[in-house]
């Protein structure tokens, strides 16, 4: 992991933008998954919103577990089963972007006794079968980034491997213990591929 930040409070909405121009025309695939941990996890959900791209979604997506929707429309994931996954063929254009919104009781009202969080992972592949990760230096696991819902309702983004990445929080959020900044945080990785940012309002 080259960059990351912890302690973002609930009601976060992350803007994710990936510059895919280096692999334009590649017939590949996208994967999103959101799962509980191996102990006791509180109910949590996540949505993928406003997916936009000049690439082309291909074929029929494969949905596993508690997932509903179909890109480019909203996807909704719950952590009710062990594996909640959306996998779709994709021919890359020059860019793709979406918003990630974690929400639910684990985010808005942590119960104080659960012992596992939940986690979201996003990966891109240069093959339709989803075996060759692309636009990441995480060649071991292939994640472009992951986001964890922590036991105190905060979220942590890790695994930004390439390029400046900014995660922008559109919604006001509460300040919480261990919040790293007051106002605006920015995370930068290597130059080149993916871009994301994060700003926030402390209330």
């Amino acid at each position: 992991m080259l960059a990351g930040f912890a302690g973002l409070a609930h009601a976060d909405l992350y803007d994710v933008t990936v510059d895919t121009s280096a692999i334009t025309g590649t017939v590949g695939s996208l994967d999103f998954n959101f799962n509980p941990g191996p102990l006791l996890s509180q109910d949590a959900s996540a949505q993928i919103l406003n997916f936009t791209t000049d690439g082309t979604l291909a074929g029929s997506p494969v949905l596993t577990g508690d997932v509903s929707g179909a890109l480019p429309s909203t996807l909704t994931f719950d952590n009710g089963t062990g594996f909640n996954d959306y996998f779709d063929g994709f021919t890359f254009g020059s860019t793709l972007s979406f918003q990630l919104s974690p929400y639910g009781p684990a985010v808005s009202s942590p119960d104080g006794f659960s012992t596992s969080g939940s986690a979201f992972g996003f990966s891109m592949f240069s093959d339709p079968g989803g075996t060759v990760p692309v636009l990441t230096t995480d060649t071991t696991d292939g994640f472009a980034f992951t986001t964890s819902i922590n036991l105190d309702g905060t979220t942590t983004v890790t695994g930004i491997r390439r390029k400046p990445v900014w995660f922008r929080s559109r919604a006001p959020f509460q300040n919480r213990a261990a919040h790293p900044v007051g106002g605006c945080a920015r995370v930068c990785g290597f130059a080149g591929i993916a871009t994301a940012s994060k700003t926030g309002v402390i209330s």
């Binding site: 799962n35 102990l39 969080g117 992972g121 071991t140």
Partner: protein, 99 residues
């Protein structure tokens, strides 16, 4: 003891996360620390287990000689779960070695 959520890697075909142990007592505890996952579900394997004790897999928390009060340590966990079952484990922490 707490754990992160598990993200699934299509590359390794494993569910990956972390487990964190915390010394909630008032005195330091010497390591090494072993985490045993009792009676894992059928078809769920702890891929990075160091070994098995009484039929249950365990891992060693790396590079922790001792834990001061309120101090935590984290270890990566990686599960093979081909049936995609919900993984719910019962962990127990031991200090010392199983040899």
């Amino acid at each position: 003891m707490t754990a992160s959520g598990l993200v699934y890697s299509r590359v390794t075909r494993t569910f990956n996360g972390t487990v964190t142990i915390t010394n909630g007592g008032g005195t330091a505890i010497d390591g090494p620390f072993q985490i045993v996952f009792l009676y894992p579900p059928v078809n769920v394997q702890l891929v990075n287990a160091l070994g098995v004790v009484d039929g249950s897999p365990y891992i060693t928390v790396p590079a922790v000689a001792n834990l001061a009060p309120r101090q935590s340590a984290t270890v990566n966990v990686q599960f093979n779960n081909p049936s995609n079952a919900k993984i719910q484990l019962i962990p127990i922490v031991y200090s010392g070695c199983f040899n």
